[in-house]
């Protein structure tokens, strides 16, 4: 067996060790898709997971959500929030648990990857609202944008172990992007691994595709959710929310904005509000 085959086998074994997307979050998101939402029932569902509840209350009290008072109960929070905001906070609460460790191989601290994920969520949300996406698509945008880098938590150990190979290949092939380097060293890229993970968790294909495509300039523009996820990631890095060894070492589709029918002025709007929300959000943590 070749070295990279062995790594690949281990990587896909590691996928099995990542805690599955919590049932509580699925149930809560399902309930939020109903026409008449029973908020008491929603509270009961979320409360059954103390970790998500604690994260939810911490996030909701961030100034980024602009609530007029400190919120100490889920039910009270639901009264102040819109349905989309509740969905966003549930997804962010779950994501917090996945991004709790530093990504040493990718050169990112836990708080950096977490903040980057949230920033992508904020930016993607605004783009999705401007494009008039349906509530179901907005939910897909939240999941894809907040979890787009989840494959990195699987690959980080192997990136760390093979870091010298990464450095050498990057130095010798400056024209290559990081996807090509990941493929050469590990036999896979973090977008594909992340998509595989979400497929196993039975997320809709469009979300898995967006995660798969978030660094692939050809795939990204084939789907609206993927384009929004890719663009949000690009813009978050541009405003300095993110980083890591791979940042900027990717190709961007030339026609990404055109495909989404977004003009340059709008881009500045997304950059400004994304920066504002993220900095304000950061204050709460």
């Amino acid at each position: 067996m070749k070295k990279d085959d062995k790594i690949l086998e281990k990587i896909f074994d590691k996928v099995d060790t990542i805690p599955t997307f919590p049932k509580v979050a699925y149930q809560a998101l399902n309930l939020l898709r109903e026409e008449d939402i029973d908020f008491k029932k929603l509270e009961k569902i979320i409360k059954s997971d103390p970790g998500i509840t604690a994260n939810f209350l911490k996030i909701v009290n961030s100034p980024a959500f602009g609530l007029p008072q400190k919120i100490d109960s889920l039910f009270k929070a639901f009264m102040f929030l819109g349905i989309n905001q509740i969905k966003f906070i549930i997804i962010a609460s779950v994501a917090k648990n996945y991004f709790e460790k530093d990504l040493i191989g990718y050169g990112m601290k836990a708080e950096e990857i977490w903040l980057h994920s949230i920033a992508c969520g904020f930016i993607a949300e605004e783009i999705a609202f401007d494009l008039g996406l349906s509530p179901l698509k907005i939910e897909a945008v939240y999941v894809a944008s907040v979890l787009h880098d989840i494959g990195k938590i699987v690959l980080d150990l192997y990136t760390k172990l093979e870091i010298e190979d990464f450095r050498k290949i990057i130095m010798e092939n400056p024209q290559w992007d990081f996807i090509q380097v990941e493929w050469l060293v590990l036999g896979v890229d973090h977008g594909l691994v992340g998509a595989h993970l979400l497929e196993r968790w039975r997320f809709p294909k469009t979300i898995c595709f967006a995660i798969r495509a978030h660094h692939d300039p050809d795939l990204m523009i084939q789907d609206e959710i993927a384009s929004i996820t890719g663009l949000a990631n690009i813009l978050a890095n541009m405003i300095g929310i993110g980083g890591g060894v791979d940042v900027f070492n990717y190709r961007v589709p030339d026609n990404l904005l055109k495909e989404l029918n977004i003009d340059v002025k709008k881009v500045y709007k997304y950059l400004k509000s994304g920066l504002y929300k993220t900095l304000v959000f950061q204050r709460g943590f």
Partner: protein, 160 residues
């Protein structure tokens, strides 16, 4: 002592053996300055170009754009006694993707603002070094102890 310089802010040190450091710059721009004779160091860092992009985070607390930040930074340096004619200045950042499309113009616009405001202040080519448009993460540092300006490109340090 290490002093972090966040987005939209500047810091100036005089006579202290301190280090000023930015966060990950993104496509933002940092301007570092060291006046060895007068022992003054300064670092400013912004991510958005124009005044209309200034952000108020809390009451009265602003995260400034390049257009607002750079004149204040220069003014404060002058008040501190820095001599622009002898000081070393480095412009860092404006990082780009491998094939940055024209319509994602933030790095170029940030740079344009820095260039035009520096040009108003000092003889352009003299003491200004540009370290820009990399495809990787970049940090900037002003070290008054060593009287140097450093950049960090994906962990690799370069002293300027």
């Amino acid at each position: 002592m290490v002093i972090k310089v966040p987005k939209g802010f500047y810091q100036i040190i005089k006579g202290k053996e301190a280090i000023l450091k930015t966060e990950f710059l993104g496509s933002g721009v940092a301007i570092g300055m060291v006046d060895k004779i007068n022992e003054i160091g300064g670092l400013c860092y912004y991510v958005l170009p124009y005044k209309e992009h200034d952000i108020e985070i809390e009451d009265g607390e602003l995260v400034l754009s390049g257009e607002s930040l750079i004149p204040l930074f220069f003014e404060e340096l002058e008040k501190s006694g820095a001599d622009f004619q002898i000081a070393k200045m480095v412009v860092v950042g404006a990082s780009v993707y491998k094939n940055n499309p024209k319509d994602l113009e933030l790095p170029e616009t940030n740079l344009k603002v820095a260039k035009s405001l520096i040009k108003k202040k000092i003889a352009f080519e003299n003491n200004v070094t540009f370290k820009i448009n990399f495809n990787c993460q970049v940090y900037a540092e002003v070290n008054l102890k060593e009287k140097s300006i450093k950049i960090n490109l994906n962990g690799k340090e370069e002293i300027l």
